[in-house]
Symmetry: C3
Subunit: 138 residues, 3 copies
């Protein structure tokens, strides 16, 4: 049984879902762990993680539209000094995930055929985001 840990720096381009499945799968392959657990942890409070459909890009647009409507930018938020998109970004993060876990079998993540891993940027402008990958297994 052993562990592998590394930090992935990702540049986002404003509000959108950025697919990271291949990058994570490559790190799992390099680790040569055959059976184990992969934990993803995002070090931010205005971006989040999501496992979602990887086929039709319209699903990602509908997700973005739904969350934009559910958490509107121009509500009367008390916390507004960092811009109208900041407090909605915190709420959108609270409604999705900061960490995600995926078991590893036969050296690969056990994702379903339609599942992709996404980093969801909730701020209007692109940011550099840090994703910690922790693997444990043998």
């Amino acid at each position: 049984m052993r562990q592998h840990q590394q930090v992935l720096k990702l540049q986002t381009t404003g509000k959108s879902l950025c697919r990271v499945t291949q990058k994570i799968q490559a790190i799992v392959a390099e680790s040569q762990i055959q059976t184990g657990l992969c934990t993803l942890f995002l070090r931010h409070t205005s971006a989040s993680l999501l496992i979602q459909e990887n086929a039709d890009p319209d699903v990602l647009k509908d997700l973005e539209n739904f969350f934009a409507k559910l958490v509107p930018e121009w509500e009367n938020y008390i916390h507004s000094t960092e811009g109208p998109d900041d407090m909605p970004a915190h709420i959108r993060t609270a409604l999705t995930k900061t960490s995600e876990q995926i078991p590893i079998a036969n050296g690969r993540l056990v994702l379903g055929i339609w599942q992709g891993i996404y980093l969801w940027e909730h701020r209007q402008h692109g940011q550099t985001r840090e994703l910690v990958i922790h693997l444990i297994g043998g």
Copy 2:
């Protein structure tokens, strides 16, 4: 320290919360792991996991009603080719969980007395769903 991993196939019956606590508890017992961590991972993007009240079934009805109202079927979704219930199912999944973790103590999940583990089917029709169970401990 060792691992145990297996896939549970579950038949759902359309939009509803299906309790799987006993099935998971039995797998933990069979593994004979006394102290450890249980990870559940659902291989789908239109069904999700939830740990919720296991006593009054009305709680499950209220949860279903709340989500049906929050994510209505007849919105103008761009992704609509798979039926009016598909995009809402993706959004409901985004708002709940794809993976869940429960520590193991004394050979049992450390669930609270009112907690049950549920697979939440978000499609109108029943589906066969795959739940991966990963255990690590000793």
Copy 3:
């Protein structure tokens, strides 16, 4: 590779986010695990976990206001015998987290600079809540 597990009892003071970062960080330090994974599991269905901004307390007020509006107390819930705040508490829990995972590096949680760990009480009155902390690593 080894494990450490313990239960933290926390007294809440009604609907609000209670920061527990220092308590968890102290348990990680005592365990002397340098590289590993920390899992937090809350044994309740009307309170939840959240990793959120730890700087401006107004963010916590806006989060509380948003959820109070999204899940109003006086809807026609079927489950109402435990008071008007109980069913909303279950829904708010479903929309946030029961478990959370944070990798450990150099003997510390890899939290981002703005991230704090919160126990979110969703009931009107204070409760004693049990948080299970599971550590694995070496």
